[in-house]
């Protein structure tokens, strides 16, 4: 993992409520880089988030909405965020309810920039 990417992932995890951040390949659902708290299953999050993003992307395009820029899934115990990045990757964040979504998204976009 490049130092720039590591630093940007670390910045995401410093946002209050974030339990883990990952860079995932969109076509494969595999982990490229991660910064996770204990108890977060990176491989499972990567595979399922990539699958979810793929299906939601299909739904958005089929609805005439174009390609999604941001995914926000609210669940009973927390939140999953994803931002498509360059080179076929997806930046994914797992967080609890006290997350500032705007701040997290900003840091996720910085991660995507670090991949260029």
């Amino acid at each position: 993992m490049t130092e720039r990417l590591r630093r940007s992932l670390d910045r995401v995890t410093r946002v209050r409520g974030v339990r883990g951040a990952l860079v995932v390949t969109r076509d494969d659902g595999l982990v490229v880089a991660d910064a996770l708290m204990e108890g977060v299953r990176g491989d499972a999050v990567a595979a399922l988030a990539a699958s979810l993003a793929s299906r939601l992307g299909s739904a958005a395009r089929a609805s005439g909405l174009g390609a999604p820029h941001f995914y926000h899934l609210q669940a009973t115990e927390g939140t999953l965020l994803a931002v498509p990045g360059p080179s076929g990757v997806l930046v994914v964040v797992v967080a609890d309810h006290e997350l500032n979504v705007g701040l997290a998204r900003l840091e996720m976009l910085r991660v995507a920039e670090a991949i260029w």
Binding site: V24, T25, D27, D28, G29, L30, D43, A44, A46, A47, L48, A50, S51, S54
Partner: protein
Amino acid sequence: MTSTRVVEPWLRQPLERFVTEAGARLTLIMTPAGQVLAQHGFTRAVDVMAAAALGSAIVSSTREIAALIGEVGFRALNHQGVHHGIFLAEMDSPRGRLLALVVYGSDSLVGLVRLFFEDLVRDLGEACPPEKPRKPVIAADFERELNQSLASLFGR
């Protein structure tokens, strides 16, 4: 119509769960020698036999390559095509080492297949009943059991 066929009933539920969750189109569970224990999605016996023989040969070949470079073995291989991918992996089960050959399409991901393969290994371990003591093999039993296995796998 897709089908799941098994030689022993305890294999069915774990295999069906894996196929559903991983989005696998074709799956074979076999011994390292290529003897098929369960299959999903194949409709022709000749395809099952060919896939089992080729999958077993690939694992044997890669094991030899691993030995050449001082590795114990490669646990899993993935071949990615344009429309399909092939995931081939070894697993330890109460019945010894088994191989799984999984063909998945563009509606699934290798990450998903890998993820649910771990669950399949766990589920098979939990579902496997204690092995019965082996009886001496006699020609008549061998042929009858072989025919039963073929009937289970190919519905004949």
